[in-house]
Symmetry: C2
Subunit: 293 residues, 2 copies
Amino acid sequence: MAAVIIDGRETAKILRQELNIEIDTFKAKTGITPTLALLRVGDDPASVSYAGTIERGFKAAGLGFMPRLLPVSATQAEVVALVKELNADPAIHGIMIQEPLPEGLDQAVIIAALSPDKDIDGVHPLNTGRLAQAAPTGRPSGVEPFFIPATPAGGLELLKRYAIEIAGKHAVVVGRSTIVGKPAALLLLRENATVTLCHSRTRDLPATCRQADILCTAIGRARLVKGDWIKPGAAVIDFGVNFEDGQMCGDVDFEQAVEVAGFITPVPGGTGPMTNVMLMCNVLKAAKRMAAA
Amino acid sequence: MAAVIIDGRETAKILRQELNIEIDTFKAKTGITPTLALLRVGDDPASVSYAGTIERGFKAAGLGFMPRLLPVSATQAEVVALVKELNADPAIHGIMIQEPLPEGLDQAVIIAALSPDKDIDGVHPLNTGRLAQAAPTGRPSGVEPFFIPATPAGGLELLKRYAIEIAGKHAVVVGRSTIVGKPAALLLLRENATVTLCHSRTRDLPATCRQADILCTAIGRARLVKGDWIKPGAAVIDFGVNFEDGQMCGDVDFEQAVEVAGFITPVPGGTGPMTNVMLMCNVLKAAKRMAAA
């Protein structure tokens, strides 16, 4: 039996509709337009294209979008100074720094300069640490409020919207990036999954993947995960964005996997469309926190 | 064949000897005595006893030890004020806040008040986040310097001193506390293990443990882990401190496990003695960083 295909576009659309009501209510009550500042250094084409996607989404939702661009020649001090200016600007509620940064800039220093309260993509180590320390869902978190990176947050939202049980299940996450794999593992742990985190040094990756009730891939290798790596009935959340012969595809061989899995996200149209809407959620959340403070 | 018994007492002794040379050299060069402030609220007997152990170790090593005690009636504001005073005191290099805190005090707020630069037991979320974000060992960390909680750091040191291979191995950590289980998982991941984190909601704990090349337990249940939960030849690191009929024991049934494992830490005499010396290492590190700043 073929898997249920998790429709990220449709889910994102529903979320946007829910969010629109929240945004309109907040704006009407406070007169504040939740606003994202998007900081980019240089003209990396993928970053320019991604910025356009974010801008369209934010504008359509009635959110503020403020691009702040620096030339590729910008110094570390100039970037940090701009981050601090945005931190201090009361009209900015969220700040996102686009990657990759040009060579010669120290990403860790620039991210450390971000106000954790405006770090709506959850890249500041303080937000990572709060996520790591947070108690399991359903109990008081035990830590101050924090932001979760939009991509893994979107994947988790898909699991929830499709009523896929997480607690007590074995989740296997492949890939340990700071922006997807590690926070995905921490999120699933917080939802009471038993979590295995795999990476390039994992010895028997197919066998480990086959144990997963929930398999999340954030590897960056086109169609690496084959059908026989998947436990029958498993939920497969593919965060991969790869290009093969000019076609976008995920880390999972979809045609094979769809015959084995119980649920699967396609690429494109799975986790991708969720990222943007999770960013919007986080900017609204940041504006709400600032208004309440 | 019985396991190699990992001798935490002897290893800690060797580490202390190595550390003594480092401490003496640092003191001679700088005239600075690396000093720990130990903050305790109330008189929890286990905390008082633990404080005595820390004090003896620090004094024997020529390190400074400054107990700062507040009555059980101390308010949140009083505790935070004392933390801030210690943060600002240039004669204090490391601060440790003993747990448990009396009811009514918000641990998260008190820990958030700690200077991350003096948080030598790595409990501040900024230190947790830097550990979570750090690149695998051998590469530039990609984050600012941070402190690792002493107990899991001691367990890792035992693995290294006994030349137990970690990279590419499957490590299973049972228990997800902020102070042992989660940082142990992050440390093993940084050493390139494939890591599974288990907890009270894990469904088939024995079968999951049996997959481990390296099994770390931080559960707090006496002798829970039986011999047949252990893969023959595995390295077993028992962080458990339990009491049964007045006798201290670990989370692992040692008598059974020693017949199956390849390496095993006894309780007492395994991971316990390492914690104190790792704390000393961290206070020296903090003093070095402050002197270099």
